[in-house]
Amino acid sequence: MTLASIALATALVTSVTMFLAQRFSTRFAAVPKAIAPARGSARAGVLYAFTKAFAPTAKESAALHLPSYLAGIGYHLGIFAALLRLLVSLLPVAVPAAANMILTVVLALGLACGLALLGKRTLDGRLRGISVPEDFLANLLVDVTLAAGLAASLDHGLMPWFQVTGAVLLLYAPLGKLRHVVFLLASRRWSGAYFGRRGVRPNPKAPGTDRG
């Protein structure tokens, strides 16, 4: 193993440990189990939150801002591809040429989307108004990792640089806004269960209606 690989593996273990510690921390009060009889189904609500609710038409935040929504999708595809490539770099396997080509395209797309979102945050007065310095830092950190990944996919000799930037990103992720990667899942589960249980989304049939 190279030094960069060791750094990446160490950062990965540290990051996962920190995330788990945060996610299962007992620092905050437990949420009591809901007692009122359900009108709908919490399970159906969670399922909805992790499937249909991701459709661009499901929420106004996406439907009214399609370019931002699509940029967000592209950005996160790039990030997941980069993380996958980093994981694979720790294994004694070679990436096939076709897969590497797809990876290159996805990383390039992710980087372009990331920079576009950074540009939006810089230029859009409303978005700038709700931003904190770390919003820019986190975006740049991810963009640098994506750029390093892109460079490494074109020239494998640059892989150690990609691994080092990846290690920095992994170590930083649990500390700043990037921790939303874990808390997004928890949030969707909470709100999905909330609206599902109350029969809001999805909404079960009511007397004389054809809505289901």
Partner: protein, 436 residues
């Protein structure tokens, strides 16, 4: 001279809440917000005033800054980098303006958040924190005090309740020509307890008459109560955990004492939500009776053939305002439409509608917070525009809180509509047994 120590004590109390009363769900929401700002256009307050401070993201950020300062490593080490903020009087004042003055807890942003967090839940926590610091608007506090001392927010005595109901019962008998029609009060062992918003007794007795007519037509075994009848809960609006539980418990104990099998909540969005969804959690036990909205009960009567309606008795076009607490937070979505389709000649939907509907602007206790009256009317412009676009002459809403706001919007924006409860519209269409 005593002001400084009092303020310091208030800050200490707020800090205690921030450190010790945050639950895992709210903490997850605060950790999840990425400040994408895509929620802005989902908020009626922002759509009306276009001020950055009215975006849900900006409101959430006021709590998130405090959260990062006291609950995250970077917030403690590099507050400037992550936008962490210490709890100060200024921070609390800003938070009060956001949580009480720019948010009605309607939850439309929660349904549309790209991440899936619930800004309204965060604002409720903000209100709990502000309550600890003594920064709940006086109007809301006064309602809590009245409910806790007299049993209802308008301090109506049991004798006044009995006299008002006797008068309404007499009217009902004359209106339908049936001397046997009755509006029972404190009847032990009735199947249904119909609980009221005190404003109905004082200002909207016709909505009680309508309920009497509908229960009579459906041959229901029901009762009203002269004590602890209040379905409203300003403790809920204030985020006052102890008060909201105590207020709900009074009515629940009264229903238990009467031995009813069902508590039917009059047309009141937050009253329904408090009693149907939240109260069992507040009390930590299931209730020994069902809790339903009067809207659900009317729909059931109609579906079961216990209620016959003639839509030609309501010839004017009617539109429907969906109360946030009944619909978005309560799941009662289609029943009111089912009723209107059978009770009026022309029913026109607003756009958007159902759980996507905009708040009227009067939710979350805004109507009781006079210091935010101008903002409330400004935020109501979105609802006024929705109503105007339907061309309807009548606006139905199964919520007395919404009705108060809609009536004010009607005057302020010269909408020229009539505002009614669903029960009033249904009662107007009732065909009594033995008549055609």
């Amino acid at each position: 001279m005593a002001e400084a120590p009092a303020k310091a004590a208030a800050l200490e109390q707020a800090l205690h809440v921030l450190r010790g009363r945050l639950d895992k769900r709210t903490a997850a929401f605060l950790n999840a917000c990425v400040r994408c700002g895509l929620c802005a256009d989902t908020c009626h307050v922002y759509l009306a005033d276009r001020e950055l401070e009215s975006t849900p993201a900006a409101k959430v950020e006021r709590v998130a800054r405090l959260f990062r300062r006291y609950h995250t490593l970077l917030g403690r080490l590099t507050p400037g980098l992550v936008g962490a903020q210490s709890l100060t009087q200024e921070a609390l004042q800003g938070l009060a303006a956001a949580a009480f003055g720019r948010c009605t807890l309607c939850g439309r942003c929660a349904l549309n958040c790209s991440v899936g967090l619930d800004p309204a839940a965060i604002m409720r926590f903000a209100r709990t924190l502000l309550g600890a610091a003594g920064l709940v608007p006086q109007g809301i506090r006064a309602n809590i005090e009245a409910a806790q001392t007299s049993g209802n927010t308008m301090s109506i005595s049991p004798q006044d309740v009995r006299e008002t109901i006797a008068w309404l019962e007499n009217d009902l008998r004359q209106a339908i020509g049936d001397p046997g029609a009755c509006m029972p009060v404190d009847r032990q062992g009735a199947r249904v307890l119909y609980a009221l918003n005190p404003r109905e007794l004082k200002f909207f007795p016709l909505s009680i008459s309508a309920a009497g007519m509908i229960f009579h037509a459906a041959c229901e075994n029901w009762t009203l109560t002269s004590t602890d009848f209040d379905i409203t809960n300003y403790g809920f609006f204030a985020g006052d955990i102890e008060a909201q539980r105590a207020i709900a418990e009074r009515l629940i104990r009264r229903a238990e004492k009467l031995g009813v099998r069902e508590l039917v909540v009059a047309e009141c969005g937050h009253g329904y939500r408090s009693l149907r969804w939240e109260a069992p959690d507040w009390l930590g036990r299931p209730l020994p009776f069902a809790v339903r909205s009067f809207v659900e009960v009317m729909a059931e009567y109609l579906a079961a053939g216990r209620l016959r309606l003639d839509p030609s008795k309501n010839p004017d076009p009617v539109t429907l305002h969906d109360p946030c607490n009944l619909v978005r937070h309560g799941g009662v979505i289609e029943e009111q439409r089912y009723l209107l389709r059978h009770a009026v000649t022309t029913f026109v939907e607003m756009t958007p509608n159902r759980e996507d509907n905009y708040c009227c602007g009067g939710g979350g206790g805004m109507l009781a917070a006079s210091e935010y009256a101008a903002k409330r009317l400004e935020a109501g412009r979105i609802k006024a525009d929705q109503i105007r676009a339907t061309g309807a002459r009548v606006v139905a809403s199964p919520c007395h809180n919404c009705i108060d706001q809609l009536m004010e919007l009607n005057r302020h924006y010269a909408l020229g509509v009539e505002v009614k409860t669903l029960g009033e519209i249904v009662a107007d269409a009732v065909v009594l047994p033995g008549t055609s």
